[in-house]
C-alpha cells in the first residue's frame, strides 16, 4: 500500500511511532519444576517504557529484575500477560516472527557472552549474519560500529585479549549491529570497575541520544541509575513497588525499598552506632534526626544557613552532594537541636521549597557528638 501511494505521488502517511516502546501487561512468571517449591519471579507486572527513554529497573537480589528483562524479548516466556514491543504483541507471534522481532531488540549481558573463537569484528558480524545481512553489507557496518564504540584498533583481536570494558563495548556493538530500536542491558556494568562503568554508561547515554534508542537496563547500583536513567522502576518480590522520573525518585522516594537503595548511594545510611540508640519519641537532651534530599538551588550551604538563622543547631551526621541530571543533588542526615516548634516550622518551610525531609527519630545529643 505504501508503494502504491508513493507511485501515485501522494505522501505516505507517516507512521507515528508508539509513545511506549514497551508495554507489559499483567506479566506473571513462576519458576519451579513439578514437585519442587515454586518461586513467583514476576507477580503481576504492568509497565510502560516510553520510546527514547533510558529506564532503569532496580531492586534487591532475587526481586525478578532479570526475569522481567528476559520477558521483554521472550527469552523467558511469561506464564501470563502480554509483552508489546514497538506496537507488536510478541507473545502472539510464531517462532519465526519472534526471531525476526528479536533482531530489532539488542541485548547486552553482565558477562558479555562473546564468542571466544571469533575476533572482535567476527563477534559483531555474527549478529548481522544471523539477521541474514548480505556479506557485502556486513563489513562496512562492522567497521562503522567498531568506530562508534571506540574499538577500531581491536577489530582482529580475540576477546581473550580485551579488558572487561572493551568486551562490553564489543557486546554493545554487536547488540546495535542490526539497528535495533530497543537495547536491553542485564547488569551490563556489574562486572566492571567504577571508572570503566562510568565510560560504558556514558557510551549508553551517547547511543541513546544519537540513535534515539530506547534503553531498558537493570542494575542493583543506584549510582548507575543516577548517572544514566530518565525513569526508575523499583522492583521487589516480583512486583513494582515504585516508579517514576529519576529526579522525583531521588528527591522524593516513597517506598522503603527505594529509600534503602537511595541511602546507600547518597551515603545517608544512619551509622550503626546511632541507629541502635534511635527512639521514636523525644527524651530530655535528645536531638532530632532527619534525612534531607534537595536538588539544585536549594543545596547544602543555604539550607544550613537557614537552619542557623532560625536558631536551630544542625549537626552533620552523614551525606553527600552528587550530580544528578546536571544539577547538584544534596542528601544529608542532620541532627537538629532546637525547640520542637521551631524545627517543625522549618521542616514545613523547607518542604514547601521542594526539599524531601524524612524523620528518622530522636537520639541523645552526646551520642551524635561522640561520633
Amino acid at each position: 500500500m505504501a508503494i502504491a501511494s508513493a507511485v501515485a505521488g501522494s505522501p505516505v502517511p507517516a507512521l507515528t511511532p508508539p509513545a511506549d516502546m514497551i508495554r507489559l501487561e499483567g506479566l506473571r512468571k513462576i519458576f519451579g519444576a513439578k514437585g519442587k517449591p515454586q518461586v513467583t519471579a514476576l507477580d503481576g507486572i504492568d509497565l510502560a517504557v516510553p520510546a527514547g527513554s533510558i529506564t532503569a529497573i532496580i531492586g534487591p537480589s532475587g526481586a525478578g529484575k532479570s526475569s522481567l528483562l528476559r520477558a521483554v524479548n521472550l527469552l523467558e516466556r511469561p506464564d501470563a500477560g502480554t509483552v508489546t514491543v514497538g506496537g507488536t504483541d510478541l507473545t502472539a507471534l510464531d517462532e519465526a516472527s519472534l526471531r525476526r522481532a528479536r533482531q530489532s531488540i539488542g541485548m547486552i549481558f553482565q558477562h558479555f557472552n562473546l564468542l571466544a573463537n571469533r575476533t572482535v569484528s567476527g563477534n559483531v558480524a555474527l549478529a548481522l549474519e544471523l539477521a541474514g545481512w548480505q556479506k557485502a553489507r556486513i563489513a562496512p557496518r562492522v567497521t562503522e560500529l567498531l568506530a562508534l564504540v571506540g574499538l577500531s584498533d581491536k577489530a582482529d583481536q580475540y576477546p581473550a585479549a580485551l579488558s572487561g570494558g572493551q568486551k562490553q563495548r564489543v557486546g554493545i556493538a554487536r547488540a546495535l549491529a542490526p539497528q535495533p530500536q530497543l537495547l536491553l542491558c542485564d547488569e551490563a556494568t556489574s562486572a566492571l570497575d567504577p571508572e570503566t562503568t562510568r565510560q560504558i554508561l556514558a557510551l549508553i547515554r551517547q547511543i541513546n541520544q544519537q540513535l534515539g534508542l530506547t534503553v531498558l537496563l537493570i542494575t542493583h547500583e543506584m549510582s548507575v541509575v543516577r548517572e544514566v536513567a530518565d525513569h526508575v522502576v523499583v522492583l521487589e518480590a516480583g512486583r513494582i513497588v515504585e516508579q517514576g522520573d529519576v529526579t522525583r525518585i531521588f528527591t522524593h522516594p516513597h517506598h522503603p525499598t527505594t529509600r534503602h537503595f537511595l541511602s546507600g548511594e547518597t551515603g545517608t545510611q544512619l551509622p550503626e552506632r546511632l541507629a541502635v540508640h534511635v527512639s521514636p519519641v523525644a527524651r530530655a537532651g535528645d536531638v532530632r534526626l532527619v534525612r534531607l534530599h534537595a536538588l539544585g538551588a536549594i543545596a547544602a550551604g543555604p539550607i544550613l544557613g537557614r537552619l542557623a538563622e532560625a536558631g536551630i543547631g544542625a549537626g552533620l551526621v552523614a551525606g553527600r552532594v552528587q550530580p544528578l541530571k546536571g544539577q547538584p543533588f544534596t542528601a544529608l542526615v542532620l541532627a537538629l537541636d532546637g525547640s520542637e516548634n521551631t524545627i517543625n516550622n522549618m521542616v514545613t518551610r523547607l518542604r514547601a521549597d521542594g526539599c524531601d525531609i524524612e524523620e528518622l527519630g530522636y537520639v541523645a545529643a552526646d551520642a551524635v557528638a561522640a561520633g
Binding site: N73, R99, F109, N113, L114, L115, A116, N117, R174
Partner: protein
C-alpha cells in the same frame, strides 16, 4: 635386525594405521552426530527429544561398559555379515568402529555441553534459529574440545587395534604376539612397543597442537 623383520614391521605398521584410520573415520561419521544429538536433545536442551536421547544414552553406556575383547567376540556374526570374514584387518575394523562410536559420542557431547550457556542466551536474543545456534555458535565454540576428544579416541584406537591382533586382526599387536611372545623374539617385541609409543606420541601432540591453534579462549604468550 634382519630385512625380513623390518618388512614385517613395516607391513604391520601400515595395517595398524589403516585400521585406525578407517575405524576412526567411520566412528567419527557415527559418533559426532550421535554426540551432537546427546548434547542437544536432552530434557531442557535446545531441541528436546528426551525419550530418544535417554535411550541412546543408555545404549552408549552399555557399549562403553562392555570390555573390548568381549565386544570383538560378541559381534563376530555382524563382522562376518559385513566383511565376509571374522579374522584379518578388515574384520578388525568392525569392532574397532563400534567401540569408538560411543566414546566419540560422549567426548563430543561433553565438549558441546561445555559451551557457556550465556552464549545460547545471546544467540537466542539475536534471533538465531536452532540450526544457526548449532552451526555458528556451539560447533565453533566447542571445536577445540572436540579435537581434544577425537585425539583421545585416536590414541585409544591404537591401543585397541593392538588388542584385535590377539584375535588375528593383523597389525602391530598381532606381530608382537606372534613373533615377540610366541616365538620369543624380544627385539621384535621391543620394536613393536617403540613404534606404538611413537604413534601415540605423534597423534597426541598433533591433536594437541591442532586444538591449541583452534582454541582462542586464552591468551598465548
Amino acid at each position: 635386525m634382519s630385512p625380513q623383520m623390518l618388512s614385517l614391521l613395516a607391513d604391520a605398521t601400515a595395517q595398524t594405521l589403516t585400521m585406525v584410520a578407517i575405524a576412526g573415520t567411520l566412528a567419527c561419521l557415527g559418533g559426532i552426530p550421535l554426540g551432537l544429538f546427546l548434547a542437544l536433545c536432552g530434557p531442557g536442551d535446545l531441541l528436546p527429544r528426551p525419550l530418544l536421547q535417554r535411550s541412546l544414552g543408555l545404549l552408549v553406556n552399555a557399549t562403553r561398559s562392555t570390555p573390548f575383547i568381549i565386544l570383538v567376540v560378541a559381534i563376530v556374526p555382524l563382522t562376518r555379515a559385513l566383511t565376509g570374514t571374522s579374522i584379518g584387518t578388515a574384520a578388525a575394523t568392525v569392532p574397532l568402529t563400534l567401540a569408538a562410536i560411543p566414546f566419540i559420542a560422549r567426548v563430543v557431547e561433553t565438549a558441546v555441553r561445555e559451551v557457556d550457556h550465556g552464549l545460547l542466551d545471546a544467540a537466542r536474543a539475536m534471533g538465531a534459529t536452532p540450526y544457526q545456534i548449532v552451526t555458528r555458535i556451539l560447533l565453533p565454540e566447542a571445536r577445540a574440545g572436540i579435537v581434544r576428544g577425537l585425539t583421545l579416541a585416536a590414541v585409544n584406537l591404537v591401543g585397541y587395534s593392538a588388542m584385535v591382533g590377539a584375535v588375528g586382526g593383523g597389525g602391530l599387536g598381532d606381530l608382537g604376539i606372534r613373533y615377540g611372545y610366541q616365538r620369543f623374539m624380544p627385539e621384535m617385541m621391543l620394536a613393536v612397543v617403540l613404534i606404538l609409543i611413537v604413534l601415540v606420541q605423534i597423534l597426541q601432540s598433533g591433536g594437541e597442537a591442532m586444538a591449541r591453534t583452534l582454541d582462542k579462549r586464552h591468551l598465548k604468550g
